[in-house]
Amino acid sequence: MIENLVNGLVLGGTYALVAMGLTIQYGIARIMNLAFGDLIIAACFGTFVLYSGFALSPVLALFLIVPLGFAFNYFIYQIVMRPLVARAPNSEALEVDSILVTFGLLFVIQGILLVIFGGAYTSYSYLNTPVNVLGTIVAANRLVAFVLALIFGAGILFVLFRTRWGTTLRAVALAPESAPLYGIDVNASARLAFAIGGALAASGGVVVSMYQTFTATAGVVFTMKALIVVILGGKGSLTGALVAGLLLGVVETMVAAYIDPGLTLAATYTVFLLLLLVRPSGMFGKAG
């Protein structure tokens, strides 16, 4: 039981880490980023190249790839998203536009990766060493993901809810039309939030690449899992993403252990659907 719980939480750590980036991009910058998973994959490949080509340890790669992720997303927002935000008459229109444009972006990133790396399965092994957590043996690399998720989660939560700057970010998320009246530069805030989300995606990619096999075309899987976690948690809710991510990990593990590994995904979706029916705006979501 404890063993499964630990395994589940560690697995959930990955989900949470990945989902938090998306929830920030969607919740604050209001961009529903369908290319999110492909950013993760790009970071995976980046880490792989650094590791296999330059013998740079993936943990060190974090310090290179995460800032890169930040910068890349910063420019993407400035170049691609900003005109869309500027022209959108309301948030639904922006939602549609951002879905469409990031759908295009998804193909571009995926296409570039395909040209460079081909479609083959890529995988390497790093920190695949056993660590004893409460009597359960887990892989160190997964533990890194879990710990990173907690650190980033706590850090960002602190900023959002305990600092004035965080409150301005939330105001941008909740009422972009009103925010300027509070002296908030909506564009700058959204761009920053989008870039932070991108940095989180990059960090997720670095960690995931340590244990998961990836291909240039596998981004969609991450996007979808992240979306589900985000929605389950309540849109824009970071706490929600964190809790929902961990919860999903535990549910999957429990189902695999006590019911049938074949039903893990079915269980994920069942939990997801049931929860939405009971709470139509997610666990930590507010109506509207």
Binding site: E95, V96, V101, L277
Partner: protein, 304 residues
């Protein structure tokens, strides 16, 4: 007078389309087939999602249900009956889903429907693996491309007629109102849940039929083939691109996009993704309200 001309013109186009397999190569027919399939999907999708702005990603759930029904029953029942059963199953599932999702709004609905499609896929997989112990199924119906094309064409015509009728009836207006503000719509006397449910069910049934009709083309069916989420995404993108709130919008989106896919994958198989993505981004930038709106703008601009 003008109306008669339009009707006659429409009938002529239809006749031409029906005769196309005799005029084109198999591949030409195959193109038309694929295109008709997507136009029907996009039109059916937009019937519900266009005006209400409930963006559904459940398309492939129904599409797959249709295909699977045919795979399971094609040896057991006569074909028309198989289609009927498929439609009924699609309808039933749609009603159950509709009843349970009526409270969800916005992105919650989007992801819910996506989750639903995956749930259906996982459940079918699990069932096939553990209960029937066959994952793949074979469909050996004596259909060639053109037979499937004709069926799809007929379905498309019916879909357009339904869509047209709704658009000019009071329900079309009601759906747009629902898309804007459900509270106001309710206060205006509209049975919002009922109307949403009805539309969702009609749209889903048509989508189910598309899947059922297209299934015999693949001979072999397994969940990863018929529940391929790309179908949901393409449908949505095509409809949004054309303009989902107009009758011809989805068609105007589906045709060029479909041809574009085909052209790119044939001519640039190695750079397909990059080019597609880049073109896509450009389209969004230069045709913010969809292709149809752009065309109308151009026409208005040209006239003035």
């Amino acid at each position: 007078m003008k109306q008669t001309v339009f009707i006659l013109l429409g009938l002529a186009v239809l006749a031409l389309l029906a005769a196309a397999p005799y005029l084109l190569s198999d591949y030409g027919t195959a193109l038309l087939l694929g295109m008709t399939g997507y136009i029907t999907l996009a039109t059916a999708w937009a019937m519900f999602s266009g005006p209400t702005r409930y963006v559904s990603l459940a398309t492939v759930a129904f599409f797959g249900i249709g295909a699977y029904t045919v795979a399971v029953l094609s040896e057991v029942l006569p074909y028309p009956l198989v289609l009927l059963v498929a439609a009924l199953i699609g309808l039933t599932v749609a009603i159950i889903v509709g009843l349970s999702t009526l409270r969800l709004a916005g992105v919650y609905f989007v992801i819910f429907t996506f989750g639903l499609a995956e749930l259906v896929r996982q459940t079918v997989t699990w069932w096939e693996v553990n209960v029937t112990e066959t994952l793949g199924r074979y469909i050996f119906l004596p259909f060639e491309g053109r037979h499937i094309y004709w069926q799809l064409l007929a379905l498309l015509v019916v879909t357009l007629l339904i869509s047209w009728w709704i658009g000019r009836s009071r329900y079309g207006l009601a759906l747009k109102a629902i898309g804007d503000d459900e509270t106001v719509a309710e206060h205006a006397g509209i049975n919002v849940p009922g109307l949403k449910l009805a539309l969702f069910a009609i749209s889903a049934t048509i989508i189910t039929l598309v899947g059922a009709i297209q299934a015999p083309r693949w001979t072999y069916i397994e969940p990863s083939i018929v529940f391929n989420p790309t179908v949901s995404f393409l449908t949505l993108i095509m409809a949004l691109l054309g303009g989902p709130s107009k009758l011809w919008g989805p068609m105007v989106g589906a045709i060029p996009l479909f041809l574009l896919f085909e052209w790119l994958s044939a001519n640039f198989p190695d750079h397909f993704s990059i080019l597609l993505g880049a073109l896509f981004i450009m389209i969004v930038f230069f045709m913010p309200k969809g292709i149809l709106a752009k065309l109308e703008d151009l026409r208005a601009g040209g006239a003035s």
